[in-house]
């Protein structure tokens, strides 16, 4: 993975930069000893590592502003970091960069049930946002799998999704406002407790911009009343085609499940060996969850089961209790852990039109054979967001490279059938060089021009999202 050569001028003035940062931050908030900066050398894409020049942990919007102003004046690149759970290398440092971590910004600033929002500092974890309101019957809807650890700042940077977005949308649909610090230290308020922009939709632009336009220090999030209850049905099929057709029929019937999860045979077998959830040994498995009162759930599950039966399922198990629901979800929730037991794996994140599902799964199977690497599929079928897991052995020379090449081919396939490279993880460094597969140069240029407006010196997370060759002139200027 190419990264830009560190700027020698910046490397040479490390002491000066560190001194200036220490002058505006409390003791302990500037980390510059090489033994300690190593803790920030990577995120959850651990194959790539590079300790930063320094890391800072500001405790307020004001401190973030001062840090950015200093780095701006000194010409030092800044890599914002939430909890470091990015699977795309979104928080990977360069040797000449300062990591700006939001881990000290964890407070709840305002909770307003009457107007249904919560305002938090951006380092707060996703799950603890819900934690702050659930006793009062509310929740924050986006639920990425890493929700126990991942920060709202990272969720906003990557526009994170989760299992329940078919009904509730992703981060951008649940984000009402941010406090944003621009690279020159300017603090701007965008949106708030009201709905929709008064002018251009800056909020929509910020969300998913991978920390390249500004640093979000506070966020106003929409909270929703918890449904009365939720229960899934598990449906097993002998073929991926039939499972795909069933998903389409459920959606066409007018039911809007909160989640439709899909697992293929390699994934079912691996999770069964690991979690023993009692899944049938079949080609494809669906978990469809609906919400409401007990009677409403019965009605919807009845309708879904009726549709499923038309497709001759090998197994159909409606949950009738919390215990049965937990069993149905057990395997799905341990899928990634199960894969980790078997091998190293790389988790992809392409989205495809739901209608292409059978074709794409068949092609992945063929590619998997050609590359000699196993692929297990587990994904959000309702919205076409796939998570193929490629299994490889990191200790075997050449395996990682082969795995990356297979991953790239699978993502190209996603684009070819009308989908995209990433549904919820972000581009980061991982898919940076594939952007030209999805976009024409003019499409990318339009995005670069947006960054020119927010960060004219190209100092914020500069080596991410776009192919390096396309940004070289701007980064050098």
């Amino acid at each position: 993975m190419d990264m830009p050569t560190p700027d020698a001028t910046v490397m040479a003035k490390k002491d000066q930069v560190v001194r200036r940062l220490m002058s505006v931050l409390p003791k302990g908030a500037v980390i510059h000893d090489p033994a300690e900066t190593r803790a920030y050398e990577c995120d959850a894409l651990t194959a790539y590592r590079c300790p930063p020049l320094a890391a800072v942990l500001p405790g307020s919007t004001q401190e973030v502003s001062q840090v950015l102003r200093i780095c701006h004046e000194e010409g030092v690149p800044v890599v914002p970091r939430g909890s470091g759970t990015s699977l795309a290398g979104g928080a990977l440092p360069t040797a000449d960069s300062v990591i700006l971590g939001v881990s000290r910004l964890t407070g709840v600033l305002e909770t307003d049930y009457e107007n249904r929002f919560i305002r938090v500092q951006s380092g707060r974890t996703n799950l603890s946002v819900t934690g702050a309101v659930e006793e009062d019957g509310f929740f924050y809807a986006p639920d990425p799998s890493s929700q126990l650890a991942c920060a709202i700042a990272g969720n906003i940077a990557m526009n994170s999704g989760g299992a329940h977005c078919l009904k509730y949308g992703v981060t951008t649909n649940n984000l009402m406002g941010v406090t944003l610090v621009l690279m020159d230290g300017t603090v701007v308020e965008i949106g708030g407790a009201h709905l929709d922009a008064g002018g251009l939709d800056y909020l929509g632009l910020i969300c998913g911009s991978e920390g390249q336009l500004g640093v979000v220090t506070e966020a106003t999030l929409r909270i929703l009343p918890k449904p009365e209850g939720a229960r899934p049905v598990l449906i097993g099929f002998d073929s991926n085609e039939v499972a795909g057709a069933c998903v389409s029929d459920i959606i066409r019937a007018g039911v809007l499940p909160v989640a439709i999860e899909f697992m293929d045979r390699p994934c079912i077998r691996a999770t069964e060996a690991f979690a023993k959830a009692g899944y049938p040994d079949c080609e494809a498995l669906l978990i469809v969850e609906v919400e409401g009162s007990p009677a409403e759930i019965d009605e919807q599950l009845g309708l879904i089961s009726q549709i499923a039966r038309r497709h001759n399922p090998v197994e159909l198990r409606e949950s009738g209790s919390d215990e049965e629901s937990a069993r149905i979800w057990l395997g799905r929730k341990s899928a990634f852990g199960a894969m980790g037991q078997i091998n190293d794996y790389m988790c992809l994140d392409g989205t495809i039109p739901v209608s292409s599902l059978p074709h794409v799964l068949k092609r992945i199977e063929e590619m998997s054979r050609d590359y000699g690497l196993d692929v297990a599929n587990v994904f959000h079928a309702g919205d076409g967001n796939m998570h193929p897991l490629i299994l490889f052995d990191a200790n075997k020379p050449g395996d990682l490279e082969r795995c990356e090449a297979l991953g790239a081919d699978i993502l190209k396939l996603c684009v070819e059938v009308g989908g995209c490279l990433t549904g919820e993880h972000g581009v980061g460094i991982e898919k940076r060089d594939l952007m030209a597969v999805q976009f024409d140069p003019v499409d990318i240029e339009a995005q670069l021009r947006v960054k020119d407006v927010f960060d004219p010196a190209w100092l914020l997370n500069p080596a991410k999202v776009f192919p390096l060759a396309m940004t070289a002139a701007r980064r050098a200027a």
Binding site: R252, G254, V450
Partner: protein, 376 residues
């Protein structure tokens, strides 16, 4: 009026433009500061290009009549969930609303509180920027974080950053049943509290509006629920019980009459043909009654649980002083061309945001030819 029939023709016309362009779809929403420029209509770019009911996605050319899209969706039991407003009666315009116009204005209706705005349903765009380049962003899948989200930026940019040529949406199933709970005789403050209570319940409210001079005369507070037949009946009962403390309520379960009630709210029918300017105020719901008290309005309709206020006031006045100290914004939707030249139509922005807006316009439209000045 220039009227391209293809995206390529549209790009050529923008590229060849010697001066400002006034971009229109169906011409039913003359909102914003008046634009002097050569007319450019996208109505010739028409037709649904892709519709997959099983994937809940639809892609259409920007000039496609909204009614055509709604009919195509209805045939499969689906709809645009954000319930776009029809501005014709309020603004006294004629013509055929287009889907591109809906997107350019981020036009959303009462269901915005539950299903999101137009910008939330929008999953892809193609547009021609001020250089005449055809640019695409997003696509035809509903989960997509590949690169910056210019889709959201285009929604509500009123043709000032690019001329839309194609738009893609996530659509949703049309429910089998609807019920409207109507509370009678509440004052504004009590009504907003009732709406808040309904929206804080787990009963999936899809509309929450109030008017002291409602569609049936007198103060009416309207709460809508939609879904399967038995579920709607159940939730209507639970909501009536929950709201009993706010006063007597009735339930409207007839689909046609329910639709008429929400059309009244969505299109602000009560202001049609009435004198005065019309403002649209977006704020925190609980701030609403206080702002309304300061407005000296001749008519007020609350939508979005109180978070959206439609106000009819004496012509030629800037109401923004009444919002002093309140987070939110006000947009002047209906006024004479003279007033729309004199009073800022879109809320003035703080300096750093105004600088970003100028920067974005300079990048997307370096010659300043796309609806120049429309948004200020």
């Amino acid at each position: 009026m220039m009227r391209p029939e293809t995206e390529a023709e549209l790009a050529d016309m923008v590229k060849a433009a010697a001066g400002p362009l006034r971009i229109v779809g169906g011409g039913t929403r003359p909102i914003g500061a008046p634009v002097a420029g050569a007319g450019l209509s996208v109505a010739g770019l028409s037709g649904v290009e892709l519709y997959e009911p099983g994937a809940l996605t639809l892609v259409a050319r920007a000039g496609t009549p909204l009614a055509e899209i709604e009919a195509v969706l209805a045939a499969e039991g689906q709809r645009l969930a954000f319930e776009p407003m029809d501005h014709r009666r309020l603004l006294g315009t004629e013509g055929v609303p287009t889907i591109g116009g809906v997107v350019a204005g981020n036009v959303s209706g009462p269901r915005r509180i539950q299903a999101g705005a137009c910008r939330d349903a929008l999953i892809g765009v193609r547009f021609v920027d001020g250089r005449g380049d055809v640019i695409k962003n997003g696509g035809r899948v509903m989960k997509n974080v590949t690169g910056y989200d210019l889709v959201k930026l285009m929604a509500g940019s009123w043709g000032t950053l690019g001329v839309l040529s194609q738009v893609g949406f996530k659509v949703l199933p049309r429910p089998a049943a609807v019920a409207v709970i109507v509370l009678h005789g509440l004052d504004d403050e009590t009504a907003v509290r009732a709406l808040s209570a309904a929206l804080a319940s787990p009963y999936e409210v899809s509309g929450a509006a109030h008017a002291s001079d409602g569609p049936g005369g007198g103060a009416q507070t309207l709460i809508r629920i939609e879904g399967f037949v038995e579920s709607v009946a159940y939730r209507a009962g639970r909501l009536q019980a929950l709201l009993a403390g706010f006063g007597q309520s009735t339930v409207e379960g007839d689909p046609e009459r329910a639709a008429a009630l929400w059309r009244w709210v969505r299109d602000v029918e009560g202001f049609a043909g009435q004198p005065g300017d019309v403002w649209r105020i977006s704020l925190k719901p609980s701030d609403g009654p206080r702002v309304v008290a300061a407005l000296e309005a001749e008519g007020v309709v609350y939508d979005w649980g109180g978070g959206l206020i439609w106000a009819r006031v004496a012509a030629g006045r800037d109401i923004r002083p009444a919002l002093a100290g309140i987070a939110g914004h006000a947009t002047l939707i209906r006024a004479s061309a003279e007033t729309r030249t004199k009073v800022a139509v879109f809320a003035p922005e703080p300096a750093p945001l105004a600088a970003i807006a100028r920067g974005l316009r300079a990048q997307f439209d370096p010659r300043g030819i796309l609806n120049p000045g429309l948004m200020g």
